[in-house]
C-alpha cells in the first residue's frame, strides 16, 4: 500500500534542515508503529520520500510525503496515530492512498507558493503587483550554493496575489521550482525590498503550498495522484 500525506510544519520547527525533517518523520513513524515498508539491502531504510525541501527558516502550511506500507492500514488510523506521535507543531492535514505508479513528489511538484506577511494594507501593494508583473526582467543576486550571480526571476514568477486583510496584507507569490529556474524565497524577499516594499513592513514568511502546474492550472499533489 502506498499513501501520500499532506502536513503542516509550524513556526517552532522552522529552523530544521531537510535531514532533520526526514529523521523527525522517520522516528515519528516508528513511534506511531506504522507498518512502513523497508528497502532491501544491507542498510534497510523506511520507504519514505519527502516532497521538495522546506527551506531552513520557513514554516510550511502544506507539505507532502509519500510512504509505502508493508500491509494495508486504514487512512484514518494512520492519520490519528501519526498526529499523536508528531510534535505539537506538526500535523498531518490529509492523506490518501495512491497507486504504485503515481509519479514521485520530487518529479511532479514544479512550483511553490511563498507568502509574505506585510504590515501595510494600502493600495500601494496592488500598484506594486501590477508594476512587478509588467516587468520583463526582475534581476536579483542569486542565493544558495551559486551565490551572487545575476539572476532574472521574471520567467519563474507565475502568479502574484495580494490579499489585504483587517490589519495587514499577504503577498502570495507562485514561483517555479527545480529546473530550469528555481525561485528561492530569499531571492523573492530581496526582490520585494528592491522593488519598493519597505523592509520594516515585511513580517512572517512561510510556504503556503506546493503545486503541480499544468499550463495555467495548479493542482495540489493530493489532487494529482494518477
Amino acid at each position: 500500500m502506498r499513501l501520500r500525506a499532506e502536513y503542516s510544519v509550524g513556526s517552532d520547527l522552522r529552523f530544521l534542515s531537510n535531514l532533520d525533517m526526514m529523521n523527525l518523520m522517520a522516528r515519528a513513524l516508528r513511534r506511531a508503529r506504522i507498518p512502513f515498508a523497508l528497502s532491501e539491502g544491507f542498510n534497510p531504510h523506511i520507504r519514505l520520500s519527502m516532497g521538495t525541501v522546506l527551506p531552513v527558516g520557513l514554516w510550511g502550511k502544506r507539505e507532502y510525503f509519500d510512504l509505502e506500507l508493508e500491509r494495508e492500514m486504514s487512512i484514518n488510523e494512520f492519520v490519528d496515530n501519526m498526529n499523536q506521535s508528531l510534535p505539537p507543531a506538526m500535523r498531518i492535514n490529509a492523506c490518501l492512498e495512491i497507486g504504485i505508479k503515481t509519479p514521485a513528489l520530487m518529479n511532479s511538484i514544479n512550483c511553490a507558493c511563498y507568502s509574505f506577511v506585510i504590515n501595510d494594507r494600502t493600495e500601494q501593494l496592488e500598484l506594486w503587483k501590477a508594476r512587478t508583473l509588467q516587468q520583463e526582467e526582475l534581476m536579483v543576486k542569486s542565493r544558495g550554493k551559486k551565490k551572487n550571480l545575476d539572476k532574472n526571476l521574471r520567467p519563474g514568477i507565475l502568479k502574484i496575489e495580494v490579499n489585504r486583510l483587517q490589519d495587514f496584507a499577504i503577498i502570495d507569490i507562485w514561483g517555479t521550482i527545480g529546473e530550469p529556474l528555481n525561485v528561492r524565497y530569499d531571492e523573492l524577499r530581496d526582490l520585494l525590498l528592491q522593488t519598493g516594499i519597505d523592509k520594516e513592513t515585511v513580517g512572517d514568511i512561510y510556504r503556503s503550498g506546493n503545486y503541480i502546474r499544468e499550463r495555467d492550472k495548479y493542482y495540489t499533489p493530493l489532487e494529482k495522484v494518477k
Binding site: 513556526s11 517552532d12 520547527l13 522552522r14 529552523f15 530544521l16 534542515s17 535531514l19 532533520d20 529523521n23 523527525l24 522517520a26 522516528r27 515519528a28 513513524l29 516508528r30 513511534r31 523497508l38 544491507f42 542498510n43 534497510p44 531504510h45 523506511i46 531552513v56 527558516g57 506521535s85 510534535p87 507543531a89
Partner: protein, 617 residues
C-alpha cells in the same frame, strides 16, 4: 524572549536548531509549582551535550521523580555568542527561555578539564559573578559534577559546591536541602549542604602551602565540612533511575541513538585509566532490565539504533544474550545495535559480526601500547596473540580497514616501545593483506598520555611537548604505505596535564586565559596555546610544577581529600609494580586485589549474568 529569538536572532546564526528547545519528550514543569529550580548546564555545544548520558539521567530523575525542576542549557557557538552579546540576550534555558540567573542552582557537567573556560563564559553570558566569593544572596548556586571533579581544586574558587560520584545518588538530596533552606543566608546554606555525603563546598576549607610550593595541609574551617569528602556510589543499577523517555533532538547530534548503560565501572585496572579507578566497582544491569529499558526508549523516541554503553561493554557478562535478543527483536524493523568499543579478542569480533550484519566499515581496537613490556607497565592485559586473533577474525569476516588506538609518552617509555607500535601495525597489516584482495589500510591514533589524579600514575611526570614532538618525529621518520599514524595535539595534552593535577592557585591563570579569549579549548580551531602560556606566566605559575614534576609518595596531593574508596597503598603498589613490569589481574576473574573500594564504600562487585562470556577471551 522566545519571539525575539525566533524572529530576529536565530535567522542570523548557524545551526539554529541548537537553540530552539521544544524537542520530543521535553519536560517543561510549571515554574511556580516547582520546588528547587535547577538548570543542567553543559559547557559545550548542544550536539555534544545532548549526547551525554549523565545529563539524560539527571534530567529525567529530577523532573520525573521529584517536585524540583530541571531545565537545560548549552554553550552557544561563537557566532551565537556574538549575536547574544550584541543584542544583550542572556544565556537562557531551553525549556522556559528564562535566563540562568532565575534558577536556584546552575549545575555544570565537568567532563573534561579544558571545558572550564566555557563554564566561565557561560556564567559571564548569564551575568553571574565568576568567582564564588563574589556571589551575593539571591544569586544561583553554581555547582559541578562529572569525572573532572575528582580533582576539583583548579576550579574550586569558581564553584559554590561540587557533587562527587554518581549524580543520581546525590542530586535530589542536594536539591531537597536547597529548597528546604531557601530562606537561609547563603553561608549557612553552604554549611548545611556540606553535611550531605559527596558534597564538597570549597569555601569551607583552607589550603596551606610549603615553601617548595607543595601542599602543607588542607583542612576544613567549620565543623560541618568533612575532612574527607567521600564519593557517592549507586549500589544496584537495576534499582537506579534510568530514563525511558529521553529528549529526542531534532538536529543531528554526536551520539544520535538510544543508549543503554549496561554497567558502570571497570575492573581491568589499566593503570593510566582515570575512569577505571574512580568508578569502581563494576555494577552491572540485568539483561531483563536492559531489555525493558530498550523497549521503552524505542517506543518513546523512534530511534533506529541502540547503543550498549559502558567503559568496557564486551566485559558485560550478559553481552551475548543481550545483543542476540535485541537484534532478533528489533532487527526486522530496521533497528540496529551498536557496540561503542571492542575488546581486543576474537570473541568481540564474533559479536561485532552479529550486530554488523550490514556494512563492514572500520573496526577499532585499542592495544594502547606496542610492546608486551609496556602493556605490562600500564596493565593493559592484552597479548600480541589475542590481538592477532582478533585481527584475523575481523579480516576473515570481511572488514577491510582497521583503526588502532595507542598512547605515547607512557611511563618509562623507550624507543623500543615506539618501534613496537610500528611493528604491531605492520604485523596487523600483513594479516589483513592475507585475507583481503586489496591492500588493507591500518590507521593508528596516538594519544599523548596525561597522568591523572586517583590513578597509580598520579605521581609520575608527563612528557614535555619537546619529548612528545621528538617521539612523533622519530615514528614518522619513514613513510609506510597504508599505515597511517595520527597524533593528538601535544600542546592540548600538555595543558590538560597542568589542570588535571592542578591546585587552587591555577584559578587566576584560568580566569586570565578566559579574559584573553580562550573558550572551546577542546576544539582545535579555537585552541590558543600561546594565550594559555601567557596567562600562566602573568600569574607566575610554572606549568612544569604541575605536569612534568615527579611527585614523592609522601606529598599531599590536591585531590587527596576526595575519597574514591581506593586505598593509597594500592595505588602505590600498582605504581611500583608498573616500574617492575608486573601486571595485575582482573579482580572478577582472579579474586579481590584489595584496592579497597568495596570495603570502604560498603558496596560489592555486581555481576548479574554469570561469568562465562565476560571472562573467556
Amino acid at each position: 524572549m522566545k519571539d525575539k529569538l525566533f524572529r530576529d536572532i536565530l535567522p542570523q546564526v548557524s545551526k539554529p536548531a541548537r537553540y530552539t528547545g521544544g524537542e520530543v519528550n521535553v519536560i517543561q514543569k510549571d515554574w511556580e509549582q516547582a520546588e528547587a529550580k535547577m538548570v543542567f548546564a553543559f559547557p559545550d555545544v548542544y550536539e555534544v551535550g545532548m549526547s551525554h548520558i549523565g545529563g539524560k539521567i539527571l534530567y529525567g530523575l529530577v523532573n520525573e521523580k521529584s517536585n524540583h525542576l530541571m531545565e537545560r542549557s548549552f554553550a552557544p557557538w561563537p557566532d551565537m555568542e556574538e549575536v547574544m552579546r550584541r543584542e544583550h540576550i542572556p544565556l537562557y534555558a531551553l525549556e522556559s527561555f528564562r535566563p540562568l540567573g532565575d534558577f536556584d542552582v546552575i549545575g555544570f557537567s565537568l567532563q573534561y578539564e579544558l571545558s572550564i573556560t566555557n563554564i566561565l563564559n557561560m556564567l559571564d553570558l548569564s551575568g553571574i559573578p565568576l568567582w564564588s566569593q563574589d556571589r551575593e544572596e539571591g544569586c544561583p548556586l553554581v555547582i559541578a559534577g562529572g569525572p573532572a571533579v575528582f580533582n576539583p581544586e583548579p576550579f574550586a574558587e569558581f564553584f559554590d559546591a561540587f557533587l562527587i560520584g554518581d549524580g543520581e545518588e546525590v542530586t535530589l538530596e542536594f536539591l531537597d536541602c536547597v529548597d528546604k533552606n531557601r530562606d537561609m543566608v547563603r553561608d549557612e546554606l553552604l554549611k548545611q549542604l556540606a553535611r550531605i555525603e559527596g558534597v564538597y563546598i570549597p569555601a569551607l576549607y583552607r589550603v596551606e602551602y610549603k615553601d617548595d610550593g607543595t601542599i602543607k595541609r588542607m583542612a576544613p574551617l567549620v565543623k560541618e565540612a568533612p575532612a574527607q569528602v567521600r564519593r557517592r556510589v549507586i549500589e544496584d543499577l537495576d534499582k537506579a533511575y534510568y530514563p525511558d523517555k529521553p529528549v529526542l533532538p531534532y538536529m543531528d547530534i554526536v551520539h544520535d541513538r538510544a543508549v543503554l548503560e549496561v554497567m558502570r565501572g571497570c575492573q581491568r585496572s589499566c593503570r593510566f585509566c582515570h575512569a577505571g579507578m574512580v568508578y569502581r566497582p563494576v555494577r552491572e544491569r540485568s539483561v531483563a532490565t536492559l531489555k525493558k529499558q530498550a523497549a521503552a526508549q524505542l517506543a518513546s523516541t523512534g530511534y533506529e539504533e541502540i547503543s550498549l554503553a559502558s567503559l568496557s561493554t564486551l566485559d558485560y557478562s550478559g553481552v551475548s544474550p543481550l545483543v542476540k535478543d535485541l537484534v532478533k527483536e528489533y532487527g526486522p524493523r530496521g533497528t540496529g545495535v551498536s557496540l561503542p568499543s571492542l575488546r581486543v579478542d576474537a570473541f568481540s569480533i564474533d559479536l561485532a559480526n552479529e550486530v554488523q550484519k550490514v556494512r563492514k566499515t572500520t573496526l577499532t581496537l585499542a592495544p594502547e601500547a606496542g610492546t608486551q613490556r609496556m602493556r605490562d607497565v600500564i596493565n593493559k592485559n592484552v597479548t600480541d596473540e589475542q590481538l592477532f586473533n582478533a585481527v584475523e577474525a575481523a579480516f576473515k569476516s570481511g572488514w577491510n580497514s582497521l583503526k588502532l588506538y595507542f598512547m605515547i609518552g607512557l611511563p618509562d617509555e623507550t624507543e623500543a616501545d615506539l618501534d613496537g607500535i610500528i611493528e604491531l601495525c605492520r604485523k596487523v597489516k600483513a594479516i589483513g593483506d592475507r585475507y583481503s584482495r586489496r591492500p588493507v589500510e591500518i590507521r593508528a591514533s596516538l594519544a599523548s598520555f596525561v597522568p591523572k589524579g586517583h590513578t597509580p600514575f598520579q605521581w609520575r611526570s608527563q612528557n614535555s611537548i619537546a619529548e612528545l614532538d621528538n617521539k612523533r618525529r622519530y615514528m614518522m621518520r619513514e613513510k609506510r604505505k597504508n599505515i597511517k599514524l595520527s597524533f593528538h595535539d601535544s600542546e592540548t595534552s600538555y595543558l590538560e596535564g597542568i589542570i588535571a593535577r592542578g591546585d587552587r592557585r591555577l584559578a587566576a591563570a584560568i580566569h586570565k586565559a578566559w579574559q584573553k579569549g580562550c573558550k572551546f579549548d577542546g576544539w582545535s580551531e579555537y585552541f590558543h596555546f600561546d594565550r594559555w602560556m601567557e596567562a600562566l606566566q602573568e600569574e607566575n605559575i610554572d606549568p612544569g610544577f604541575y605536569n612534568l614534576r615527579r611527585r614523592d609518595y609522601a606529598e599531599v596531593l590536591p585531590w587527596d581529600f576526595i575519597e574514591t574508596g581506593i586505598e593509597r597503598e594500592y595505588l602505590i603498589e600498582e605504581d611500583e609494580k608498573a616500574g617492575q613490569g608486573i601486571s595485575t589481574p582482573d579482580c572478577r576473574r582472579e579474586g579481590c586485589r584489595d584496592c579497597g573500594v568495596c570495603m570502604n564504600l560498603g558496596v560489592d562487585l555486581q555481576i548479574k549474568e554469570g561469568r562465562a562470556d565476560a571472562v573467556e577471551s
